[in-house]
Symmetry: C2
Subunit: 390 residues, 2 copies
């Protein structure tokens, strides 16, 4: 196990009717807030009214900032920052999934500086302070509700970049699984696949050979994401399934799985971000295309690890009798099949992305490879991986 | 899954040479501290000098408070409180295992009130504030380094009581596995068994039938505690084994496993505390006696749960072919055998406790049953369980 610092100060309120605590949790930080959310869905479901009611109960003044898109845009974040500065607001309340929460975090950081917020993302400026962020989660996927990361897309430069900073942990996050009952099947699956990818990135990129504690936690989370995704698709208002999926997705990227693994990376995200940036593909849909291709590319060097993964998540098929080579190969095939069974795409062609675009996509990914310092990924490597995703 | 609040603000510094950060971590809170530790072992190993050196580097004044015993005494805590008040100290530094850390927490709470500290333990007073506690862990066992609990023994009233409060989380805990290389085999095993018991208490007492996320985390931690205990006994300076055991023991009782399980209890601890209070038995040694007996007592109502446990932690013996009844029975027998193989006692007679004492022990446990509101445990039930431990 490698040395690590673990310090996750986010307070989680999990369960039914926890939304009613939003007002008091927010009032502890400010009585004047920016309310960040997506398009119309929270108004249709009545969630917007419940949020306003809880905030009003504590006499909190609210400035609306609607319209966060699934791949959140820096232009929209800039508008939010302008509102916070103009109205002198003291906290940000995010109601939504990872896109909304990431936008809220970027606004919370950008509102306290004079320079453009994108400079944080390209490493030209460092965060020194942030406004408090309080979140209400409506999608089990990104894990942003309990971590220090954020991802934004710059539509002008066609870059989807992300990074983490210890000041970006939300103060309080409210996780009510009932709020995810209305998530449609495709986004339920994309969310589960996003959580799965977060676990797999660390599981596959650690170079430490003896991280038994983390390995078993990660394997348990993977099984939970898969089983409960299936249950949610089968019965969208299965509280228990939604609860298990939600908590598993949060734990998948709250620092717990990475602590002790040493240097880990997000190479699959690195490539997927280019699909999102260039073709506006939903993040989870892009990941289910990239993951099997990346695993196939990594197979020669990570055969044992992939075989172990398969024995844990597909124990009935990947038995101890199978050789490591056979087990590893079958694991990738079974994972691809599982994504397909959740109706998530597993090839570039399903996303209508022509193979002739591969060099261009790889060029885009290279930018992020540089920012994230994933030195082992050059144009050639990324093209090879993308070819395995065709 | 049941509603829960999860908020664990302790900062963990894990790994080799993290001790050198003790000074800076402490100086963030106070430059005048009480240093709490046990008997002579940290002086023999040179750890004491390293602690003093790191604190001196930040010009921190230190008042010594040595002599914490394995079942820590309230009388010794009272002496510590007197020193803090007399010298007007601003933080408590604990260097040791759970006993030392629990003593430090009790001093941190007791130093800010005029009444006797024991009143917190019998529920007559509530904690309103505490001094900051910084810990250096030297034993993988109690989990106190990352939780809000503490346990003390009142030698006058012969009570070993414990409770939790959100103000009792240490600010920073330093976990260097190398500091546990010198832990002798018996206490290494007792520590692992303590951690195992923390997982088992929650695993067995939850009434929620669908806590898949927590179940898999708990099962993973159990396997890790067992496997790495064996590795540590085999090779005391196996860094990787010590690291995995240490982190597993910390996660076993940091709130993560309990979050979402609803009401859980510590019935095995409740009875073991009486063995410690009456006969000064090492906590882990008492637990390895009580656990198999308690499980045998619980068997008729928790057959399925115990069978699932066995299938996870003894997969080679407890196969899917076995009936639930056979699997559950064999699980208890195998666990008892495993404790015995680590040279931890598995019967009252091995502790030289006569069977005729059982009514008296049960009477002592009843006090804690009342404080912890474990209403299902009367004199008769506790005597029955103890009889199964003979």
């Amino acid at each position: 196990m490698q040395n690590f610092v673990f310090h996750n100060p986010t307070k989680i309120l999990f369960g039914k009717n926890t939304l009613s605590s939003l007002g008091t949790e927010t009032a502890a930080f400010s009585k004047r807030v920016l309310l960040v959310y997506g398009r119309n869905s929270i108004k249709k479901t009545g969630l917007y009214d419940r949020v306003i009611e809880s905030l009003a109960h504590e006499k909190i003044e609210v400035v609306d900032h609607a319209g966060v898109s699934p791949n959140p845009l820096v232009s929209h974040v800039r508008e939010g920052i302008a509102k916070v500065k103009e109205c002198d607001l003291g906290a940000i309340v995010a109601v939504g999934g990872g896109s909304v929460i990431d936008s809220a975090k970027a606004i919370a950081a950008g509102a306290l500086v004079a320079h453009d917020v994108w400079k944080f993302f390209i490493g030209k400026k460092t965060i020194k302070a942030t406004l408090p962020v309080i979140t209400v989660l409506t999608l089990a996927a990104a894990g942003s509700e309990m971590n220090s990361g954020m991802v934004l897309t710059n539509e002008k430069t066609v870059e989807k970049f992300g990074f983490g900073h210890r000041l970006l942990y939300p103060k309080t996050s409210i996780l009510d699984p009932e709020l995810t009952f209305t998530v449609p099947p495709d986004y339920t699956a994309y969310g589960a696949i996003d959580a799965i990818s977060h676990v797999l990135e660390f599981y596959m990129t650690t170079q430490d050979p003896d991280t038994q504690v983390q390995d078993r936690i990660m394997e348990g989370l993977l099984i939970n994401c898969m089983e409960n995704c299936e249950r949610c698709l089968d019965k969208p208002d299965d509280y228990s399934a939604r609860a298990n999926l939600m908590w598993a997705a949060t734990l998948a990227l709250n620092g717990l799985t990475a602590a002790g693994l040493g240097r880990v990376g997000f190479p699959m995200h690195m490539i997927e971000h280019s699909l999102s940036a260039l073709y506006n593909v939903p993040h989870g849909a892009g990941l289910s295309v990239i993951i099997p291709g990346w695993l196939t590319w990594a197979l020669p060097h990570r055969k044992k690890r992939i075989a172990r993964l398969g024995r844990q998540i597909f124990p009935e098929t990947i038995t101890n009798e199978l050789s490591t080579t056979a087990a590893a190969g079958q694991t990738i095939a079974l994972l691809r099949d599982w994504f397909a069974a959740q109706h998530s795409p597993v090839s570039l062609s399903e996303l209508d992305i022509p193979i002739t675009d591969i060099p261009h996509i790889a060029q885009n990914s290279l930018q992020l490879a540089r920012v994230w310092r994933l030195k082992e990924y050059g144009q050639h490597e990324i093209e090879t991986i993308l070819t395995l995703c065709k």
